[in-house]
């Protein structure tokens, strides 16, 4: 599930920023219509994460039953280790997002265009989500 969230965040952000940055050269920043793509990107992350998680759950459940490596029941289980690793990842993500928020806050004080503020906010959410996922994956793999 952590993988799904990481991959979805990365892909959607990559598509979004390539679309938006592609428009940077053509029109003045203040006229770039980033609102629609941004809302679509946020919606896409939510929908794709849900769909991906369900697909992943079904996939791992089926493969576990076929290979006999655990059971479908075991896959859906969430124990204390999952909770602890989840908390650690979310905490680190929170710090990263906070730093990003400070950056966005600075942009408002400096009266940058909405375009930059909105995209800085979005970028910090994306980076926070990726760092959070990375911390969880490392914790799962190497122990903590």
């Amino acid at each position: 599930m952590t993988w799904v969230s990481a991959v979805v965040s990365a892909i959607v952000a990559a598509v979004y920023f390539s679309v938006i940055l592609g428009r940077l050269g053509d029109v003045p920043v203040t006229e770039i219509a980033y609102q629609r793509p941004l809302l679509i990107a946020i919606g896409a992350v939510i929908v794709l994460t849900i769909v991906g998680s369900i697909a992943m759950g079904i996939g791992t459940g089926i493969s576990a039953e076929i290979t006999g490596n655990g059971s479908a029941e075991d896959i859906g289980r969430k124990d204390e280790r999952d909770v602890r690793i989840g908390r650690r990842g979310e905490l680190v993500g929170y710090y990263v997002a906070s730093i990003g928020m400070l950056g966005a806050f600075a942009l408002t004080l400096l009266e940058y265009d909405y375009f930059w503020i909105a995209n800085a906010l979005y970028l910090s959410f994306v980076v926070a989500a990726l760092v959070s996922s990375a911390v969880k994956l490392v914790a799962y793999r190497r122990g903590f």
Binding site: D74, K78, D79, R81, G143, F144
Partner: protein
């Protein structure tokens, strides 16, 4: 980042003594994932006291027959 717990355990030996119980079976008995049993067995995860007691109960042994905390060789 690797911070293996100093606590050692005999879960593997106890599983084999208990009619070669699988990791999956132990996981089912104490209600955790198989990955967690593996992590505990390899010393990559230090379980909560509750989980430690549950493991000991499955094998019907006192806690310190499952987990050991060796004296530091100084």
């Amino acid at each position: 980042m690797v911070r293996p717990t100093k606590v050692t355990n005999r879960i593997r030996a106890l599983r084999f003594a208990a009619d070669e119980m699988t990791q999956a079976e132990l996981a089912d008995r104490i209600g955790v994932t198989r990955q967690t049993v593996i992590a505990v067995e390899q010393g990559r995860y230090s379980p909560s006291r509750q989980m430690a007691f549950l493991i000991a109960r499955v094998f019907g042994v006192p806690l310190d027959e499952v987990f050991q905390y060796p004296e530091e060789a100084s």
